[in-house]
Amino acid sequence: MKELMLTNEAVARGAYEAGVRVLSAYPGTPSTEIAESVAKYDEIYSEWAPNEKVAVEVAVGASVAGARAMACMKHVGLNVAADPLFTAAYTGINGGLVIVVADDPGMHSSQNEQDSRFYARSAHVPMLEPSDAQEAKDFVKIAFEMSEKYDTPVILRLTTRVAHSRSLVELCEREEVELRPYEKSVAKYAMMPANAIVRHRVVEERDSELAKNVNGMSINRAEYTSRSKIGVVCSGVVYEYVKEALPNANVFKIGTIHPIPLDAIKEFANKVSQLFVIEELEPFIEKQLKAAGIKCRGKDIFSLQGEISVAKILEKFERKEIPIPEKTAPRPPVMCAGCPHRGVFYVLNKLKLTVNGDIGCYTLGAQPPLSAVDTVLCMGGSVTMAHGFKKATDGKSNNIAVIGDSTFLHSGVTGLINAVYNQSGITLMILDNSTTGMTGHQNHPATGKNIKGEPAPVVLLDELCKACGVKDVRVVDAYDVSAVETAVKECIASDEVNVIIAQRPCALLDKSPKPKAVVKDCRKCGMCMKIGCPAIMKTPNGIVIDPNQCTGCGVCTQLCPFGCITIDKEGK
């Protein structure tokens, strides 16, 4: 039976069919749906970990204990998990271990455009790259076989256009894989210099063996035609673009992006008149071919930035002009109506604070009219950058750190411990919307629910901050603009590290009908326009509030100096 599946769902299906027993992940676009889909299979234990390092370590633990295990993340998540990855490459595995990483060329929903393929080379771990949903499922199974055959973790790499496309998948039954017995082996699993020196040798030997063997794997294949003499080397979604744009070209499709099948590509290169490498981001394949003495062209034609597309290939090879979009009014993403972050950013902007922001929906607080975010670096970077600001200015900088609840648990808490220990006197605002918002509402350790939505123990954010040594921890209602303002003013005036937890669930979580804001006798002062609420629109006769969008949060009612906006308690 064939089903139309999101590639991320197909990866989950692959894990199911491959007999995976344990999955740990942290949400991140474009990888989130893998773990969400795995959670629907009761045969697999699945969990949201607080961060990607935890997820990979859990998966390594499950593997060493004998189970087939998986960890999933977005590209920047692999940076966080790089520490266990590099050493897991030394220890090898017991049960098969697959790490899924989803890159985001074009940065549809990311803060950078890094190319995770280099991790595979650098950590000496094989990496597979599928082109569509069916291949993704198949490659998961191949990855587990390779993992167990070569005693190594294997990375499965996706990109946004693969992860977030749907195509047909043939479903198979689950194959139960017995738990392998765990046998104590300090030399293999306890990495300290004496053991690691030996294991590093094993890693290099494995890499050489793999480099030879991948040439014979069927997922690396040459597709010859008699209609053209040029050859193109490609992988992942770019293979699909090449097949679409250049149906007559000879194509070498790489399935093992590390190690690449150099001998097989050499043979292919000898059979074509001119060789091209088409790949997104870095010249990862191209440079290896050139180093091996294979003449080819690649990044002299295509950009290092953004995505490859059918149109870009047609432009370069067929001289077809790419139709250009008309320049028109932009429509950037905005904070939703009723977003609990809105009032907070209004206050921070009003107080003219330097705001060290973080990764999440609240990054949108940087956009006008809120314009309240100065810096965004990485998960947890708000707290630590704020500390750096204070230290650089001898405590005089007028800055505040802002982070979400999930991001705080991911890697903000270590920064808070640092700020307390090294006494920078920062103020940290935790925007607690009781969910992981941007990625589509995943549970985390402070929501009281697990990945399946079942009740789970709750990490109390205020108690956690107090346990870190913060004496002044305040909880305010994020919708109460004056309470937020008072708390911020008092906290930034203090020399001690303090934390303000602004609470309100994400407006998208509760869709029950609520009383809406209504306008009467608008004086057109424009105060309510300062919060960038998509439900509020300016008309020649004053503002209008769209009842279909308004959630009745009441932030605008607190801003109107004439009391013209009220919540219609009688209405529905």
Binding site: L314, I322, P332
Partner: protein, 190 residues
């Protein structure tokens, strides 16, 4: 081969529309690929989803100048993606105007006369008031399914099969509303 680009504003139901078309392809035994974008752009920003149906589909993404049809749920969004249309392609636009935030704040003005310009530029451009028709069906959120009805008639897709695809993709309790909205859209196109 049929390439359909769906453009709208986050929250307008572009994703459901593409899922229904994917299901339709599956039911009719065709190959199909869809491409969608999740995450940040969904928060009230411009959203596009790509639907490709045919014997054998490679790219999940439609390229500039490659769309047989564009369905736009909002007029400005039609302008934003019209360069994706093939020379003789069909442009089906919901006659609606949703102000982007920069227009709400007054940083940019929402361009005037878009509809007239599109109708002049494209021989096969159609504007429908899908919101009104959806309200007629009982809920303006069914705007996307009204548009599906129009598309079904314009492209002569199998109506019964499309209804089956809709039924498979929407929750049971919204089934009746959606089928009604679909039929209103279908009948509107002559």
């Amino acid at each position: 081969m049929m390439n359909i680009l769906i453009a709208g504003v986050g929250g307008q139901g572009t994703l459901l529309t593409s899922k229904v078309l994917g299901k339709y392809a599956l039911l009719s035994g065709m190959d199909c690929k869809l491409s969608e974008v999740h995450g940040m752009s969904q928060r009230g920003g411009s959203v596009t989803t790509h639907v490709r149906i045919g014997e054998k589909i490679h790219s999940p993404v439609i390229w500039e100048g490659g769309a047989d049809m564009i369905i736009a749920f909002e007029t400005l969004e039609a302008i934003r993606v019209k360069h994706y249309l093939k020379e003789d392609g069909v442009l089906l636009v919901n006659d609606a105007r949703i102000l982007p935030m920069p227009c709400i704040t007054g940083a940019v003005t929402y361009p005037e006369g878009l509809k007239e310009r599109i109708l002049k530029e494209y021989n096969r451009a159609y504007f429908v008031n899908a919101k009104e028709m959806a309200q007629q069906a009982g809920n303006e959120k069914a705007t996307n399914v009204v548009m599906l009805g129009c598309l079904c008639r314009l492209f002569d897709f199998d109506k019964a099969l499309m209804e089956e695809a809709i039924t498979a993709c929407v929750p049971e309790r919204f089934k009746e509303l959606n089928i009604k909205a679909f039929n209103i859209g279908y009948e509107k196109v002559k």
